[in-house]
Symmetry: C2
Subunit: 415 residues, 2 copies
Amino acid sequence: MGQLSINGNRLWDRLDELAQIGAIPETIGSSRLALTKEDGRARDLVVSWMKDLEMDVTVDGIGNVVGVWHGPKTDTALRPVMTGSHIDTVRSGGRFDGNLGVLAGLEVVQTITEMGVSSRHPIAVGFFTGEEGARFAPDMLGSLVYVGALDLETALNTVGVDGEVLGDELERIGYAGRAMCPGVIPEAFIELHIEQGPVLETEGITIGAVESVQGISWTEITIEGQSNHAGTTPMSMRRDAGYVAGEISTHVRQIANQIGGTQVGTVGKIDLHPNLVNVVASKASMTVDLRNTSEMILRESESYLATFCEEISEKENVTISSKSLARFEPVEFDNKLIETISSTADNLGFSNRRMTSGAGHDAQILARVCPSAMIFVPSKGGLSHNPEEYTSLEEVSAGANVLLHAILNVAGECS
Amino acid sequence: MGQLSINGNRLWDRLDELAQIGAIPETIGSSRLALTKEDGRARDLVVSWMKDLEMDVTVDGIGNVVGVWHGPKTDTALRPVMTGSHIDTVRSGGRFDGNLGVLAGLEVVQTITEMGVSSRHPIAVGFFTGEEGARFAPDMLGSLVYVGALDLETALNTVGVDGEVLGDELERIGYAGRAMCPGVIPEAFIELHIEQGPVLETEGITIGAVESVQGISWTEITIEGQSNHAGTTPMSMRRDAGYVAGEISTHVRQIANQIGGTQVGTVGKIDLHPNLVNVVASKASMTVDLRNTSEMILRESESYLATFCEEISEKENVTISSKSLARFEPVEFDNKLIETISSTADNLGFSNRRMTSGAGHDAQILARVCPSAMIFVPSKGGLSHNPEEYTSLEEVSAGANVLLHAILNVAGECS
């Protein structure tokens, strides 16, 4: 191990070429919502690269694309070791999120091919449909169908934020494929991704060996009080939905601080009604985003929130209702794979640490059917879902080299 | 005193007839923004009633309408005792706010005429242009011009929320009059108005003798932090503008509770950006409405708010800027007039209390040039600026009777 090395510039150039499709003017970012014309053109480009590498390309019923590579000494009866990610973006996205994982997979295959190396297991590189969920909910839709956790028919009938039906859009761009869903279960799944957070950059560490994905709990809270004149209504007679929203918002911070560890809590959305300077708000709706790597502690945080809402609704004489918008249990990745990633990074001389992913990824869905794990590289300023998203050539190359050697380790290198 | 009594049903019918202009379907409310076609028709109706009562009607340069009544024994060289209010409404308004004060003034004149009573001073009933400020800012615009606190030219050039120029709209409805502004300084000004708050109803009291109007301080606060992923950004690395908005909102309540007395504080408007469930808000803008009857204490509350903003901006590493949107000093009404209103209510057998107005009224502007005061009657549920605004026939009649006898007291009853 250590001799083989990917071609960082070639990977960098492919990232750049892919980013030109749906490029956001005057930025290095891209806008390629799932199954739009731009997504279609991006798929065509990546498929053409797969074919250049003589991979067998299949497209399944939800548009997931998988390219499989066989070396001269590969046993094609074995399950493939799979890598990949997604190439759709949020409306105002960056060029690394998802794309890096897919193109690094191709770079791994090209390096192996050019160096005359082979592997016992086939190597598969996939990109899954609609990971971002920005046009069609839920996020990670393609991988959910791939593992059989979401019914194909249901997924095809999904209506997007623009009113279009997923199945129609898939047909329109020519990616309603024939491969079966659920798809082939891989031997293992390893995804390279940018961190999308500030931890690696802040600590000056190059590689994250991701051992878990935080559980996510999204709650929409609606507070109903009474609209009143801000001047003529004594404080004691108010039923102020806006004030209660403020109390809940600050309490969410308290919950996160009190629990500590990986617990985070965010109120990112607040809407008051009528939202006027001199009217006590009659209604407020807000969202609470709670995350933890432990399902038990995540439930505890949800329960703290619910208790607080009960107490303040009584105290302030308002009605509070809440609705779960999304709920994912935490995911633990495969210990052996995490260890492989750490030791690979050590061997290549890259500083590394175990860490948690705060965001959702296809790998957490694949983890339901096979040993899975992720490799993180730093995000400048922690920025993501933003055209300014940036990871340096050196960091991208480091991540792709760890991916290369981790895959060869699992797939069985044979020279 | 006590024999003379207004005709409650006649007043009630006029309130109803006026409310038909701009009536909001399926409610008892009206929509008559200042200087719209509906306002023009309402003005025509009220002017026709003034003429029926043989009042001398003048219209000034900003469209304020004043009808002056002389009895057989009136000394026309004396300054008139004035009453009145406004007949414009907010977009979705009630039938009592403003209208009651104007039509009760006409009812007072009609009662005096029919009963063969006279007064030493002339009696004037006025309605001022654009009191609500809902189409053309500032509110109380007409009375500000009447007392010379706002320049006529400036007022005529005001651009409304719909982009129309006030002077053009005034011409269009035929109310660009020739009477001079500033107008004649009255001997005294007494305004009957609904409370627009819950105090009288809650305490079961019929008449409020308004002794002061709260000072008003409106501040717009803008918080700039940093947009971040709600999952991947540790709590300690956040610069969360949404959280800081919540802290300020709850602190405003604390300021009000700590100061106590007439102090109120409201955060009625909060806007987060980008306002998404899974993104830490980069920016928040919000308004703070602070009111107190004491200028000194109002300044204290403003200073508490400013100090808190400084502290939290440092603690949370966000930038906070603030801008004054409106600032009115508190107004104290005339002691002798307040006493006259209280004793009149006592003599008529109506329960009454001294109180503060939390809302702005034309009387507080007239107070700059002559002794002024107000009479409040209850608002059902404290509701106002709402089609459901309601005050009963009995309460309306009580208020108009107090107005009648208070005016006669000041104007000098001569039978």
